[in-house]
Amino acid sequence: MKEIDIADLKKITEVVKTKYNYDFTNYAMSSFKRRISRILEIKSMTMETLMKRLYDPGFLDDFLNEITVNVTEMFRDPSFWRVLRDDIIPGILLNHQKIRIWHAGCSSGEEVFSMAILLREMNLLDNASIIATDLDTNILDRAKSGEYNIKNMELNEKNYIRYQGTKSLKDYYKEVNGKAVLDKTLVENVSFRKHDLVNGEVFNKFDLVLCRNVMIYFNQTLQNEVLKKFHESLFKYGYLAIGSKESLIWCDIASKFIIVNNEEKIYKKIKD
């Protein structure tokens, strides 16, 4: 890990902001620093080269792809998915026939596919409208393709077993040329869209917003702003799911939510 100058980080955020309107100013400093350090390492670049390359719009996609953390799993935290299946989804159905779900910061789509499998096994996939967003178009393409490294499937399979699904995860994918290709019909009604949580508009209302392990890369100022958007994007009594080690305790908007499952960090909007 190379030591990176904070002044250089500021220059990088400045260029990306003025030239491309992506604002990383309020990303958590130490992880942002590590991402930059990682880019330099992977691309064997000096800081000077990186600065120059940033003016090339063709490099931007690459940059966004590496700056965001795209480590995810299917059915990560199996107990979380059980609570969704057993409590949260039935709770939504009490009030709404259609279930509107937003995966905010969906990355390579593992959680979108997990959700689709969960809903299909409940015979509810046709009642659901799912929107999955990320700021990185490369990763959205990967999510749409539903093709994962076969090496990851062992872990995904383990998670699925602990989730206690009704089938085998193998029923949902085929192995093609060393890749696991997921059943595309699972996501045929999912809308994958480019959306930046930092300066993107509120675009719809949802019963459930999933944003797990995304806001850990933001500082508290930005967390507050993004939570305001989630609050606005939820129907009253809609649910917000964040990562198991994230918390709203320190956030301005906490009083407009109640926690419905503390272990799995699922909140419910109770005030407009």
Binding site: R34, V69, K158, S244, K245, E246, S247
Partner: protein
């Protein structure tokens, strides 16, 4: 017993451990002086997909409360913090933790190098780093960061370790101030505690 010639400059302790470190950690925590004044930040390799049980197992005998912090949770003195499973745990300049799901480092998440390195960045020469038994090299580089920033470095005596790879990696990477058996680390904590009375 050795006199460690300590003073009260230190503001935090960070501990890394892996295979074979559990008993040692339990011994250290169960012999911790009451009202120990510094935060103890621990990064231990653990089963990646078992979220519960580890804190509980460590807590049984620990004198101080053990917390798996949330992202952005402030660091308080007198508490023991443990990196949660499947997250990296980093210390931030405002004296709080940040968690991350970034790629594994040294095949580990949480990675000891990351906890040690970020904590050294924040606490500089006011940090004590301790590396215990373990089967991979994670932590060696982190100990070097601690030393480079003026902190105090301690490793568990390889002769006592169930697996010596980890402390040996640190000894190869940097200068280690004290090579100690667990009983001596317990004594070290006692002498350190006296400096804050």
């Amino acid at each position: 017993m050795t006199n460690f010639n300590l003073d009260n400059r230190y503001k935090a302790i960070v501990i890394g451990g892996s295979a074979g470190s559990f008993q040692g950690i339990v011994k250290i925590l169960s012999n911790l002086p009451n009202n120990f004044p510094l935060p103890i930040i621990m990064c231990l390799h653990r089963l990646k997909h078992v979220r519960n049980g580890f804190v509980e197992a460590l807590s049984i005998k620990s004198i101080a409360e053990i917390v798996e912090p949330y992202d952005k949770q402030p660091i308080k003195k007198g508490k023991v913090y443990l990196a949660p499973s499947n997250y990296h745990m980093c210390t931030e300049l405002g004296h709080y933790f940040s968690l991350s799901t970034e790629e594994m480092i040294n095949n580990s998440r949480p990675a000891i190098d990351l906890t040690l390195g970020t904590t050294a960045y924040v606490f500089r020469d006011k940090l004590i780093g301790i590396l215990l038994s373990g089967a991979n090299r994670d932590g060696g580089l982190g100990m070097k960061y601690i030393k480079d920033r003026g902190g105090l470095t301690i490793v568990q005596d390889p002769a006592e370790c169930m697996i010596e790879t980890m402390p040996k990696a640190a000894m190869n990477a940097t200068t280690i101030d004290h090579v100690l058996k667990i009983d001596e680390i317990v004594e070290f904590f006692k002498q350190l505690h006296k400096q804050y009375k």
